[in-house]
Point group: C2
Amino acid sequence: MSNIAQVAATMKLESPVMAATSLEMRNDALAGIRDALLAHKEQIFAANAADLAAAEESGVAAPIVKRLKFNEEKLQGVCDGIGDLIGLPDPVGRLQLRRELDEGLVLERRAVPIGVIGVIFEARPDALVQISTLCLKSGNCAILKGGSETMRTNKALFEVIHAAAVEAGLPESCLHQVEAREEIGELLACDESVDLLIPRGSNAFVRYIMDNTRIPVMGHADGICHVYVDRDADVQKAVAVVVDAKTQYVAVCNAVETLLVDRAGAETLVPALVDALKAAGVEVRGDAEVQALADCVPATDEDWDTEYLSLVISVKVVGGVDEAIEHINKHGSHHTDAIVTENAQTAARFQQLVDSAGVYWNCSTRFADGFRYGFGAEVGISTSKLHARGPVGLDGLVTYKYWLAGNAHVVADYASGAKSFHFRDL
Amino acid sequence: MSNIAQVAATMKLESPVMAATSLEMRNDALAGIRDALLAHKEQIFAANAADLAAAEESGVAAPIVKRLKFNEEKLQGVCDGIGDLIGLPDPVGRLQLRRELDEGLVLERRAVPIGVIGVIFEARPDALVQISTLCLKSGNCAILKGGSETMRTNKALFEVIHAAAVEAGLPESCLHQVEAREEIGELLACDESVDLLIPRGSNAFVRYIMDNTRIPVMGHADGICHVYVDRDADVQKAVAVVVDAKTQYVAVCNAVETLLVDRAGAETLVPALVDALKAAGVEVRGDAEVQALADCVPATDEDWDTEYLSLVISVKVVGGVDEAIEHINKHGSHHTDAIVTENAQTAARFQQLVDSAGVYWNCSTRFADGFRYGFGAEVGISTSKLHARGPVGLDGLVTYKYWLAGNAHVVADYASGAKSFHFRDL
């Protein structure tokens, strides 16, 4: 048995103990983690400085180096986040159903932690803190593997977090950190012990994970988001929404990649939108109709299925809301898609028929985010339809189980007709 | 593109239309299906007679032939089931969250159908009716593949059901039947179009499906259920629960396979339980301690991990509730496990720490069933922890999506601090 398999098996056996911890103990652990992070900040910053030096030495690009940084400001951010998390209600134990099946036979359904969660995430030290505290708050055990570019910072943060969690009374095996990249393969084989994997990172990486494990995976492989600007759109609003959705932060899954414009308004809309996008530094790739109305790069068929994650947008003219819906359901990634229109009926049709986790009306796709939804924080965004869809916060980290209590009730009595169910919700 | 891939792709594109149908139309379709089944019963019975003749000719065992039968009684059963289903509330559209993120920016989360569901099920004609009507009630499109032993009955039932559904106004592609076994492989490859697979059948079959598709799978591979009889158990209650859980219907996943007995009460409990089981025709396989207290077959290590699905039970003496919990979490299949005790505190500990979909106190594991939980019917029982756990009824066939409506709200305003969220639940 590999080291990871042993760790996971132990964690699995201890996970019911973790699941049974009180909210008070879990919140105490979070408060302890916050205090410990502040108390040990110098050694964490020192580890981060070593990571940054190594990254610069090996020629990592400046924008990426920025993400690796863990400084006073990032520390304050994660500590504020922990404070918010402490204030959130307990996701565990919530009663979802209470039903008397028959005299003296009572069924209850309550939320319980998922158990053992594996999270593989990018080299961002603040993500390690967010993910581990979300898992602990929701009563889960977690195996964490962060990007190796911040391995020194990860190690320093993890040691502080784990020690504080155990100090507060949580089980020793509530958290484990995987350091070597080779161990990811071992983790993927732990389908007997790990209940859920959450991979974050590039599309190729997430697909690789999905294809190489029996463990259920929560995540998204693509983020091809659309804005459809309808004939009844207000031009100014359309420009504001599209420019924000494309440019506010390009390297994220909820940024827009394809703009669809209603033919019935295209003569006004296309030039206004293309001009605004170009003024914001965006490369515009248009289909033939767009090219006829504005100066742009010709789009190819491939563009409709491409996630640029950069200052590039594809633009297409469509014959109205139904064609927009069809295009989105066919080419999109079922993440987040928006319509701009003043026509409430058209908006309702779009929002009803677009098969995505988020269907937006007159607002930017960039709102698709756990913090912006008021979930406190998120472990990721799911484009799967099962279990959790869209931004996943604490609620996505619990499942439920059924409690049934009787007094020597047996099924034979119901099969014979001697007794019958009466199903009364209590 | 294979035939199934084309069907699935069309279904995927039409699934939002199906999802948008009114409850009235879906209920009308169910009523129409019930009427059509009754009106066409002679041709259905004739098809079934041909299936039964073929089964007998090819030497299928009598108990299995019984399951293939579709007669007046089975017809009445499925028609009653459709009546119950019509009466159940709409699982689609239910509001789960409504929150004002900021002035004029309102988030809503509502239940929506999953989309396209593939169901592969055993040769039981009544299952075809139950599964198709559950899918239609929940606004889903479905691809159905029933066991080939009843292919003529399946075909007759499907034609009647599909025609009645379309007659009521549901989209043509709401349902599709797969007839050839070779097409299962093609179905497994449709991960772009099929949102969920529900395989029912043998463990080996379900595992095969799980290992050969990227589509999320809901189901259970094993049903190793336990009853733990505690030192504080009432002997009569223990006997009643254990005998029912083992013998009421042996060929099902919620029947008990292993009995655990508390050492502190073993001298009285073991003989009473073993005698009662043997009197009911059960082969008892005991560990050394059980063998010392009652006449039985010696159990081997393999027995603790075996799903007999027959009149065999393994019995082990354990050192109390904690050892029982550890044994169950290690050897069980996280399906349904019960404790028999008069001690409420011990029961609570067991129910809290056993990591199974159902945790029962003083009642038979055989209650783990959608009908007995009051769900109307079930598409299956899930031992997965994600999405749906335990018996899966209509609620397990829906997901949700997020609606967000604003007035040209952009994220840049919140990033800059010009605006801030206030998160007010409405």
